[in-house]
Symmetry: C2
Subunit: 338 residues, 2 copies
């Protein structure tokens, strides 16, 4: 056992890497939402100048990473690897976005939890001495996701109230051994959880248990209380999953509602923008983290954030075959002090 290992699922970084830069790029709808002012770039056209939605998503991810690189104060040659993923079949948005960069590439698939998984592994690469700096990038795109997971857009399918709206967005961050924070201090790795949900229009229900288990493991492993954090934020549980998670904690006697938010609820005005339960997708938590949340830490609005991105491990095939939608949640702790 090293000093880095805490409890069953958590690691503590001995030399917490600093988020040396972060950036996000989003689509038109997200740019019309309540977080518009804190996004780095808002595309006016969801094709991003490309001919297909899949290429548009790659362009979106490329944009977020370019913006993060432009803000990065150290030599780009120190970025020894990039951890990246998306929701497209075979993760082609990530490989398309990063194909020209010449940076060693580790492809990930963690569904909508991918940004936490990527940030965790990038932080470990730096803390472990394998890289001076490492990057984490993820994306999602409403149009590429909608036709892959649900229906052709032209079909105009009705959406039930529990459904979520896939965010057109991408976030990128670069962690470095040097820098003045925010620092990544801990990571809690998620375990696959089966809540018995089969409804692909109710992803929040499918993922809330995984979020509860990972957050509980984090508190148990570190000895930290939920209120140690100024903000606990899940990836994309939406309003349905948010309510379930609050209930699960309340059942154990903990009221987290004052300092717990969900990226999927923050990114849209669900009434005005007709997004039902809220936003979802790898790009949801990534763009909220890499813009609003990290900017808020830099400005001192929050000093400690626990970022718990949630993923639904399913495919259209697994759903059609009647399999349960499995949930996972990885959590990463950000702090303005080491």
């Amino acid at each position: 056992m090293t000093s880095k290992i805490l409890g069953a699922q958590t690691v503590r970084f001995d030399r917490p890497p600093s988020v040396a830069s972060s950036a996000c790029a989003v689509g038109k709808k997200e740019g019309a939402g309540p977080l518009a002012d804190s996004f780095d770039y808002i595309f006016s056209d969801d094709y991003m100048g490309e001919k297909t939605w899949e290429k548009a998503e790659a362009a979106l991810q490329e944009k977020a990473f370019s913006l993060a690189l432009a803000k990065y104060p150290e030599p780009v040659s120190g970025i020894r690897c990039v951890f990246a993923g998306d929701l497209l079949n075979q993760c082609t948005a990530s490989s398309g976005a990063l194909k020209e960069r010449g940076i060693p590439f580790f492809g990930l698939y963690g569904a909508c939890s991918t940004m936490a998984e990527a940030a965790f592994l990038a932080a470990a690469a730096v803390d472990g001495g394998y890289a001076e700096a490492a990057a984490a990038v993820t994306s999602s795109h409403f149009c590429s996701a909608e036709r892959q997971f649900r229906f052709p857009l032209e079909y105009g399918g009705q959406r039930p109230p529990t459904s979520q709206w896939t965010v057109t967005g991408s976030g990128a961050l670069i962690v470095s051994a040097s820098g003045n924070g925010p620092y990544i201090t801990h990571g809690t790795a998620g375990i696959i959880r089966d809540a018995g949900v089969k409804d692909a229009n109710s992803m929040g229900s499918a993922m809330a248990l995984a979020a509860y288990e990972t957050l509980s493991a984090h508190f148990s492993d570190t000895g930290l209380a939920p209120e140690s954090y100024d903000l606990i934020v899940t990836g994309d549980l939406g309003s349905v999953g948010h309510e379930i998670l609050c209930s699960l904690f309340a059942r154990g006697g903990t009221d987290i509602s004052a300092f717990y938010r969900d990226c999927g609820m923050l990114i849209y005005d669900s009434e005005a923008q007709d997004t039902h339960s809220g936003g979802s997708g790898c790009g949801c938590s990534a763009s909220v983290l890499c813009g609003p949340l990290l900017n808020g830490m830099r400005s001192g609005r929050w000093n400690r954030i626990l970022f718990a991105a949630t993923g639904a491990l399913m495919s259209p095939t697994s759903v059609m075959q009647g399999e349960d939608i499995l949930g996972i949640c990885h959590a990463v702790a950000f702090s303005n002090t080491k």
Copy 2:
């Protein structure tokens, strides 16, 4: 710069983790091939007792991991994480296989390079002090891959000579801070390469350049000559990619043919089994590594192996949209001495 960082793409593990156990499970066709004697388990029916090919692939991966766990001499509680991936959309074979295990799960997508990516990250997790032990598991299944990437099986499509046969197989290994080897001494992370190939029936051509670049980086970063290894083995270039890779090295004045093999060529008798250019898939290099190769190291047949798994980063959509098939290759060095 730490002592772990070598050159542009390679890391050297300070405390090389030991492969404490490994196992593989394969399908009927693979079990009728030249490596049959060194596979741990051969399924007699490619449905593996399940109702769908996707569930069959999950069962295959579960089998390989169970067998590796059964051979693992230390407490399973020390396995702090498993890195896993497959070729199915949204990697559902891996999540399905590991959903009952209760082990923190990092999902990967590296196409057919996933076993090297997973072994690399598992070794780094242990060497870096984040885990006493960590696992790497990948799979592929001919039937689930064929219908997803090509045609319905019932269609009986003709295959050109450059095509490869997706291996029904899975390999799992567990690396540990303790143990007597084989050790993982180095990892060289791959960069995405575009060789300009668009033909999904010629994956070896699409991936050979990436293999060449990663192997060249490994030799340059470490100062090791190709002949330092008893065996250099690529993942699934097949006979077409094998020939290209030999030519690329020959052009630089290096003849690697005496000690270079490809898992895709080793696993089948391509003439007798009608597999054209050879085997492919995440499960190809994984089952050959976790059975024949690591067993061969344990018996002293080879003392040093450089395992370079290759992946084609494409989807049926990207191919239909006319995009180039991008290649990647991650390399991991195994040695009987630290």
